[in-house]
Amino acid sequence: MDLRYFAWLRERIGTGHEVIETEAATVAELIEELKARSEAHAFALSDLGAVRAAVDQELVEFDASLTGAREVALFPPMTGG
């Protein structure tokens, strides 16, 4: 699965893109897996109130299913405009 990170999440994890194998059924499960992946991941994902997720470029809640998903993006709350 393709993972994409943006803004300070990207900076803390140290990359904007990685490819992983996962059996996670939901975004929440995926995030738990990622936190175990490295200290950087754990730090970046320590405050989930400040994390938003998109599955295949659609904003979702953490309980969203990953069935059929090809890409998950994690990032801070958006600040456009």
Partner: protein, 148 residues
């Protein structure tokens, strides 16, 4: 003219507004919003950097735009948003809306701005003399969505 554009290049707000207005035959009201990089903190902003999520950005803005057009019976709506490095005082983005009556054009533009602000994948970082800081999302921006 493409009604949603995400670009690094600067653009001319007045020219875009005129072109948009010219195409809105029969509209009685056109509203525009322009967002500029302010000198936010202690007057020492050097630059604003805007990161975005190519592909998702265009899709999200397109969805927000369609929703605004439907909801407020707009005759047209335009969204242009830049990314990359901007100097203080530069134009970051604009929206424009057209409708028969002024209330819809105003509401449509405010709706676009509220959703764009918290639902389109842009992230701003301020570069100042003392370093670089990601702009924090504001509670009031999230709260602004609840009125719609």
């Amino acid at each position: 003219m493409v009604p949603v554009r995400v670009q690094e290049a600067a653009f001319d707000v007045g020219a875009e507004l005129n072109e948009f207005t010219d195409r809105m035959q029969g509209a009685g009201a056109v509203v525009s919003f322009t967002g500029l990089t302010r000198d936010l903190a202690a007057g020492d902003l050097i630059a604003m950097e805007i990161e975005h999520f190519p592909g998702m950005t265009e899709a999200a803005l397109g969805t927000i735009r369609e929703e605004a057009v439907t909801r407020f019976s707009l005759q047209g709506a335009l969204v242009i948003h830049r990314y990359g490095r901007l100097a203080p005082g530069e134009v970051i983005m604009m929206v424009a809306t057209a409708s028969r009556h002024r209330a819809d054009a105003f509401a449509g533009a405010e709706f676009l701005m509220d959703f764009l602000k918290s639902r389109a994948p842009f992230w701003k970082r301020e570069i100042t003399a003392s370093g670089a800081d990601w702009v924090a999302a504001k509670d009031r921006d999230e709260a602004a969505l609840n009125r719609w």
